[in-house]
């Protein structure tokens, strides 16, 4: 049976008086990796910011695990009330003046009920997935390279033990080889059982590892379907994947 972990219904939102999103209906099923692609300014980032509560929704609902309504909740309320969701912003996704260790420990902040030993275990688990972070444990995050920062951002989000994770262009501003590494890590996370929404500019690359995809145009879902279908779809190809 398909279990929806995120479902948005008629979601409208924007900044100030400027409406960005129009009646968005998307869903994410358990264990799925869904990619949202679309041209610049189509509202991809705004969509996941609205889901997590950084941008207030004007109308519509966001449901988690079919029965928790998080519409209108502030981000810290969502993460601290035990809803297993976390978000990695596109840029500025680590605390630059905090050390790698402090960044990771802050990630575990929502789990104040868990014993210290459990958090330490997860910390070690993160170092297993991202070995480079262990080498830099005492360094300030500002001194990490672009790729390392993305790894830290991912690890920080994972420290809250989420079941759902929203990623905003994790490969942005990275060299292709580093972007590949990040995509590999994302696939690894999917295999661990996480449900993932991925917003990406590198559409083909992202769709290749995804189950399904949504194409957002001017704040509306233009096309959606299986990732393979989207890659082969000529219209999508012409417009957004750079195929001629």
């Amino acid at each position: 049976m398909v279990e929806q972990v995120i479902e948005t219904k008629d979601l409208n939102s924007g900044y100030g008086k400027l409406q960005i999103l129009f009646d968005i209906d998307i869903e994410l099923n358990k264990g799925e990796l869904v990619t949202i692609i679309g041209p610049n300014g189509s509202g991809k980032s705004t969509l996941i910011k609205t889901i997590i509560g950084l941008v207030p929704a004007w109308s519509g609902t966001v449901m988690i695990n079919q029965n928790i309504n998080i519409t209108g909740m502030k981000p810290y309320e969502i993460v601290t009330s035990g809803i297993p969701i976390n978000y990695v912003p596109q840029v500025a996704n680590v605390f630059p003046t905090l050390s790698v260790e402090e960044n990771l420990k802050l990630g575990a902040l929502p789990r104040d009920n868990d014993p210290e030993s459990m958090i330490q275990e997860d910390l070690d688990r993160m170092f297993g997935i991202f070995p480079v972070l262990q080498e830099r444990i005492d360094q300030k995050a500002a001194l990490l390279s672009g790729g390392e920062k993305q790894m830290l951002a991912l690890a920080r989000a994972l420290m809250s033990n989420p079941e759902i994770i929203l990623l905003d262009e994790p490969s942005a501003a990275l060299a292709p080889i580093l972007a590949d590494q990040i995509f590999e890590k994302i696939l690894e996370l999917k295999k661990l059982g996480l449900s993932i929404i991925l917003v990406e500019q590198r559409a083909t690359r992202a769709l290749k590892i995804s189950d399904r995809g949504y194409v957002l145009v001017s704040g509306q879902v233009a096309i959606s379907g299986a990732a393979k279908m989207l890659i082969d779809n000529e219209k999508v190809g012409e417009l957004y994947l750079g195929k001629r």
Binding site: I52, L54, Y76, P89, A92, F95, T97, G107
Partner: protein
């Protein structure tokens, strides 16, 4: 940035280049220098009041130009290698380096006192104490700038609230002098709570609502000037403008502890050390307690910042409030906590900055530029920077006093304290020299000594 070094621009060209990109710096510096000249000319023709007026204007304009200067594009620091070397040594030896520096300063001043008629040792002691007081009232502003990203001009009012909280508390309790609750340790708590609550309220009722309406750091700064006036006038309404005095009182049992060797300097009111070579040094227990409590406070703050969840949350909120929210930090609560703690610490420091001195509701504002100088030179948002720049400014000012006073004439200690803590209206070169040094340092190190904030952004 490196381009600027390689091009053969004169200092004047570079200054002219600031006219459009940084009018605040450009015009306030020109007007500041003109006012300084005007002050000098009036001084020559013995128009003392006009001289005082223009000097005051000049000091304010020069301070503004320093703020402007920190916003400009700058060339690489020339003193960077030296700072890097020191940082490396410091990371290795930490506290030992600091103690060594103190000892070296004291030894040098002892040596100077032996060979000159001026008691440099005593001056160094006073400079260290003044530095401690300045740092005490400045760290709070550093915290606020770091977390809230604007320059709070009402900070000087938090200083004055600290002292008046003590005075008011004594009045309410009907003190005749000497009761248990007039003791400095009780008053410190009173000052902490008084200033802390005022700081907290200013966020709840002024800065918070403004920020939610998307106020820029500049409008928050202007609002803080207005808020400062309101606080100042409110105190004046209640207490009047008559100068008041707050004298720290110590428990009676201190008198029984004066036999303890070495540590008795903390218990007897004044300890006169007669050193070989005819150099005297008199230590005041209020000074020493102030310095000790300052160190304990900073150490506590440092501990909170690095080892507690709330402290790390504060740094995280300072770094990136949005990301902090996503991480699960209640940033609103963190900001309230920051205001309360930083204002409270400021109030505590105020008791020592104004120890046994006459104060009026307006006295705090006069100290504001000095506090800002400490914070700016320290790099706006760095604890370490605030501490180091507190010492630099204090020693510069003390040096300027020595320079200013007639060489060869030993002055009474009390006169010197008066001169140091309170600016006489004008004619006093110590601030001009202190600010000139700051300008020079900032030319070479625009982010201040340990600054993290990009001078182009923020503020």
């Amino acid at each position: 940035m490196t381009d600027e070094i390689t091009t053969n621009q004169t200092l004047f060209d570079r200054f002219q280049g600031q006219r459009d990109s940084n009018p605040l710096f450009y015009y306030s510096l020109i007007l500041g220098i003109l006012s300084l000249l005007a002050g000098l000319i009036f001084g020559m023709v013995n128009r003392i009041a006009s001289q005082a007026f223009f000097y005051d204007i000049a000091i304010i304009l020069l301070a503004m130009s320093i703020i402007g200067y920190t916003m400009t594009e700058h060339f690489q620091s020339l003193i960077k290698p030296g700072v890097d070397w020191f940082t490396k040594q410091y990371q290795q030896w930490k506290i030992l380096i600091l103690i060594a520096i103190f000892l070296i300063i004291l030894l040098i001043s002892y040596g100077l006192a032996l060979i000159t008629p001026i008691n440099f040792l005593s001056q160094s002691y006073l400079a260290i104490i003044l530095a401690g007081d300045l740092i005490f009232v400045s760290v709070g502003l550093t915290m606020i700038i770091r977390v809230r990203k604007f320059a709070n001009f009402a900070h000087s009012e938090l200083v004055i609230v600290g002292v008046y909280a003590g005075i008011t508390f004594n009045e309410i309790m009907g003190s005749q002098g000497g009761e248990w609750y007039t003791m400095i340790f009780v008053e410190l708590i009173v000052a902490f709570m008084g200033a802390g609550v005022v700081g907290l309220l200013s966020e709840i009722f002024v800065f918070g609502p403004l920020t939610r309406r998307n106020a820029t750091p500049l409008s928050l700064m202007v609002a803080s000037i207005g808020l400062g006036m309101i606080i100042r006038q409110s105190i004046q309404e209640y207490h009047g403008a008559v100068p008041r005095t707050f004298s720290p009182v110590f428990p009676n049992f201190f008198d029984n502890l004066t036999n303890i060797p070495v540590l008795n300097i903390f218990f007897q009111e004044i300890t006169l050390l007669k050193l070989p070579g005819g150099v005297n040094l008199s230590l005041n227990r209020t000074d020493l307690w102030g310095f000790l409590i300052m160190i304990l406070t900073i150490a506590t703050l440092q501990y909170i910042f690095t080892n507690t969840t709330i402290g790390i949350s504060m740094r995280a909120t300072a770094d990136d409030p949005e990301l902090a929210q996503i991480t699960g930090i209640n940033t609103q609560r963190v900001i309230y906590f920051t205001w309360f703690i930083s204002s409270g610490v400021t109030g505590m420091g105020a008791l020592f900055l104004f120890k046994s001195a006459q104060i009026q509701p307006g006295s705090g504002f006069i100290q504001l530029l000095l506090i800002f100088a400490v914070v700016i030179l320290g790099g706006f948002d760095s604890f370490k920077g605030t501490v180091v720049s507190g010492f630099i400014i204090s020693f510069t000012m003390t040096g300027a006093i020595i320079f200013n006073s007639k060489m060869g004439e030993r002055q009474k200690e009390s006169e010197l304290i008066d001169k140091m803590v309170f600016w006489s209206t004008s004619g006093d070169w110590k601030l001009v020299i202190a600010f000139a040094i700051i300008i020079v340092v900032l030319i070479f190190r625009p982010r201040g000594i340990f600054g993290l904030v990009d001078p182009k952004s923020k503020l």
